[in-house]
């Protein structure tokens, strides 16, 4: 049975940092995980308390072909970055 849950979850807590260092930090981590992302079984979770990051990171990530889901948590944001899902014609 196919498991939809990625095997590899990498969590980075960068609370206390502000943009654009949050962005640079996240981009560095994405670049490091490029190969794993290509395989499609990795997701990166960024925890940040910088509000600007919830805009800058998804924009940059989207341009790279990834998808970023933002979820508000208690006192911080959780940004989940996953490989982009390919669209199919229905």
């Amino acid at each position: 049975m196919k498991n939809n849950q990625p095997a590899n979850i990498i969590v980075h807590d960068i609370r206390g940092q502000i943009c654009p260092s949050c962005l640079l930090y996240t981009l560095r981590e994405i670049n490091r995980q490029k190969a794993a992302f290509k395989e499609g079984n990795t997701r990166i979770i960024i925890k940040t308390d910088n509000r600007d990051a919830t805009t800058t990171i998804p924009d940059a990530v989207s341009s790279m072909g990834y998808e970023c889901l933002v979820e508000k948590k208690k006192g911080y944001y959780e940004l989940v970055i996953v490989p982009h899902r390919k669209k199919t014609i229905h």
Partner: protein, 712 residues
């Protein structure tokens, strides 16, 4: 060693070297700072490229900046972005190819228009459908290329979509003898501004043709179903009515709405529900067709008897619909019943006729002998007794007449008579004991008529009974008799010129308009105990007299029945109440009758009237005696023949033999069957006259004398 080396330098030299070193250090720091600033500027520039905010020095010091290597990070990011864009471009190229393939391979016409209505793309099917002569139409107006002049602006889908800015559809759009369903879809840019209109053309010409064929087929089957003269029904296995036809609804007097959703058992006669339920279960069990007889109840409570045939539609072995065809046999059953009654009546009629015949023969003997006896005892007590006996014999004769009338056989034996006399006699007799009064009104001198008094009396009696019954609380029947000359307003069936018209008007309830056209139909009656034959018999009797019977009625205003009888060219016979005359004569007469008493009485009466008489028992003997007389040159002047001779030759065969022997023979037919058709139509059978039995002196004498004295 360096220490030694420096130790050898002077203070000044060392200070100078320190200054140089400071200077070098300061330059290096400036250069570092400049490089860092350069890196920061470039990083900010790159960050702006990827759409984010610049670096903030207080958040990222130079040392951390160098350590973080943002240019490296962003560079790697750009690599990823470019890779992603390359993938995206490839995907877009593939998608474009996909769309092009779909665009061209789809079996319907598609074109893309800009906001001015100019064609900017179209597929192969579109070209096949609308574009002729391989012309290039890109950039041309759709309205010119596709519609031409055939489509009005108000029916232009492009305009509708462009102005409405939403998808629209025209379900049936005609262009160049073909039909299309067309769908227009707007295409907007990211700012919501309309850029294109895509129009899809679905060719539905064949579908329309099929739909029409289907509609026509449906119409034909519906016409057949709806207008079938038998009752058709379709019900589900629970008995719920799915469909019934017009004949079904009209027979049971329900509308479509009243039948809708109801159960078939709601319409069945209560006495037949159990049987029908059993049949119903049987067909659901084994699915076999069967026939049945059952009874429905109409909306107004009429019993509708039907013969039916029922079968079942099965799907996967399960019954889904029960189909029934019923034929309304109510009238047929009624007719059969009436036919049985009529046959019974006919049997009784034949019996009555037979009795009347024998009775008339007997009466001929009785009455003849009384008349002969009266001649021998003209006065005194004996004469009175004979007179009383004669009256009784006349009453017996009247009874015989009624029996013959009841038997209703044959054509009318007409005689010239007075309508007034017959009407007076019949009406007074019919209304005796009734609380209905009657008035007779006549106008001028009424012409005599040629009628069968028995049959005509029966007609008057029937009409008077109807009028009397229409006034249960009593009333007045007004009878008006007058001469009538046909004119343009006369009823069509009247072919003659002069008539006697008898109007019988009552003050009864009248006849409903809807019943008027049917009141003369056999077996039609609105009375519970009526046979439905009274008016029908009256009508046919009057028609046999070449007259007409009509009706005029308004509910609440009473009814007028009018009889038209052709006026007679003859004269009324002399008053019956006058003193009897003895019409004497002379000649030689051959009388043939199987009844000895009749022969003897006839002979004596004719002898008294002055005639020479020879008797014979049957036709053979009469023929023989007639031949002998001819041969001996003493021929008979007249022959009187009985019509019916049991076991021997009767009058009909005898006259044929006589005519063969002597074409000039004069013969009278005589019978107790006064309703026999030969009696009415005697001339066509070769007779010269007719005398019904029993005889009276007057009738016998005058008939014989007039024939013997006539030529030929």
């Amino acid at each position: 060693m360096a220490v030694d080396k420096y130790n050898t330098l002077s203070i000044e030299a060392l200070q100078e070297r320190l200054l140089l070193a400071d200077e070098e250090n300061r330059r290096l720091e400036e250069k570092h700072s400049e490089s860092t600033r350069y890196i920061r500027d470039r990083v900010d520039q790159l960050l702006r490229v990827i759409g984010t905010i610049p670096l903030k020095p207080d958040e990222l010091d130079d040392e951390t900046l160098i350590e973080l290597d943002p240019i490296g990070i962003i560079s790697d990011t750009f690599v990823r972005i470019l890779e992603h864009q390359k993938e995206t471009n490839l995907n877009l190229e593939t998608a474009k190819n996909d769309i092009e393939a779909i665009f061209n391979s789809v079996g319907e016409g598609i074109q893309v228009l800009n906001t001015r209505g100019e064609i900017i793309a179209y597929n192969k099917k579109m070209r096949n459908l609308f574009i002729v002569d391989e012309q290039e139409v890109l950039g041309k107006l759709c309205s010119e290329t596709v519609c031409g002049r055939e489509t009005l602006a108000k029916n232009c889908l492009f305009r509708m979509v462009r102005d409405g800015k939403k998808s629209m559809r025209i379900r049936s759009w005609q262009c160049r003898d073909r039909f299309y369903e067309i769908i227009g879809t707007p295409v907007f840019d990211n700012d919501g501004v309309l850029q294109r209109v895509v129009i899809l053309y679905l060719d539905i010409t064949r579908r329309k043709k099929y739909e029409k064929a289907l509609r026509d087929s449906e119409d034909r089957f519906r016409d057949l179903f709806e207008n079938a003269t038998d009752m058709l029904q379709s019900i589900d296995p629970d008995g719920k009515i799915l469909l019934v036809n017009k004949a079904w609804r009209e027979t049971l007097e329900y509308t479509e709405e009243e039948v809708d959703g109801r159960n078939i058992f709601d319409f069945l006669h209560p006495d037949f529900k159990v049987d029908c339920m059993n049949n119903f279960k049987q067909i659901l069990r084994d699915g076999r067709e069967f026939t049945c007889q059952t009874v429905f109840l109409s909306k107004t409570g009429k019993e509708i008897h039907v013969d039916g045939r029922i079968n079942c539609r099965l799907i996967d072995g399960k019954p889904v619909v029960l189909r029934s065809l019923y034929r309304d046999v109510t009238e047929k059953l009624k007719m059969e019943e009436e036919l049985r009654r009529t046959q019974k009546l006919e049997s009784i009629g034949i019996l009555a006729g037979g009795i009347a015949h024998d009775f008339n023969n007997l009466l001929t003997g009785i009455l003849g002998n009384i008349l002969l006896a009266q001649l021998k005892a003209p006065e005194g007590d004996l004469a009175q007794l004979l007179k009383n006996t004669e009256n009784a014999a006349h009453r017996a004769q009247e009874l015989t007449r009624q029996l013959l009338t009841f038997s209703k056989g044959g054509a009318p034996v007409k005689e010239t008579a007075s309508v007034i006399d017959i009407v007076k006699e019949v009406v007074s007799f019919t209304l005796s004991g009734s609380n209905t009064k009657w008035i007779l009104e006549t106008e001028g001198t009424i012409s005599p008529v040629d009628v069968d008094t028995g049959q005509f009396s029966q007609v008057i009696e029937n009409l008077i009974i109807n009028s009397d019954q229409s006034m249960p609380d009593g009333g007045v029947i007004t009878i008006r008799i007058h001469n009538y000359t046909r004119d343009e307003q006369s009823p069509e069936p009247l072919a003659g010129c002069r008539y006697v018209k008898i109007d019988i008007h009552d003050q009864g309830v009248g006849i409903a308009e809807k019943y008027l056209p049917r009141i003369f139909d056999p077996y039609f009656t609105t009375k519970k105990s009526g046979s439905g034959l009274g008016l029908a018999t009256a009508y046919s009797t009057i028609r046999r007299h070449k007259g007409l019977l009509t009706v005029y009625s308004e509910p609440g205003q009473g009814t007028t029945m009018s009889i038209y009888l052709p006026a007679s060219k003859g004269e009324l016979p002399t008053d019956q109440t006058a003193a009897p005359e003895m019409p004497r004569g002379s000649g030689k007469i051959l009388i043939m009758d199987d009844d000895e008493v009749v022969r003897q009485v006839g002979t004596k009466m004719l002898n008294l009237l002055g005639y020479e008489v020879v008797e014979s028992r049957d036709g053979e003997e009469a023929l023989e005696k007639y031949r002998q007389a001819l041969q001996s040159r003493t021929p008979f002047d007249l022959v009187i023949l009985d019509l019916t001779v049991p076991g021997g030759m009767g009058g009909k065969e005898t006259i044929a033999g006589l005519r063969e022997m002597d074409p000039e023979v004069k013969a009278i037919v005589s019978s107790g069957y006064s309703h026999d058709p030969i009696m009415a139509d005697f001339r066509n059978y070769g007779f010269s006259g007719v005398i019904p039995k029993p005889y009276s002196f007057e009738k016998l004498g005058s008939t014989v004398r007039s024939l013997i004295s006539s030529k030929g």
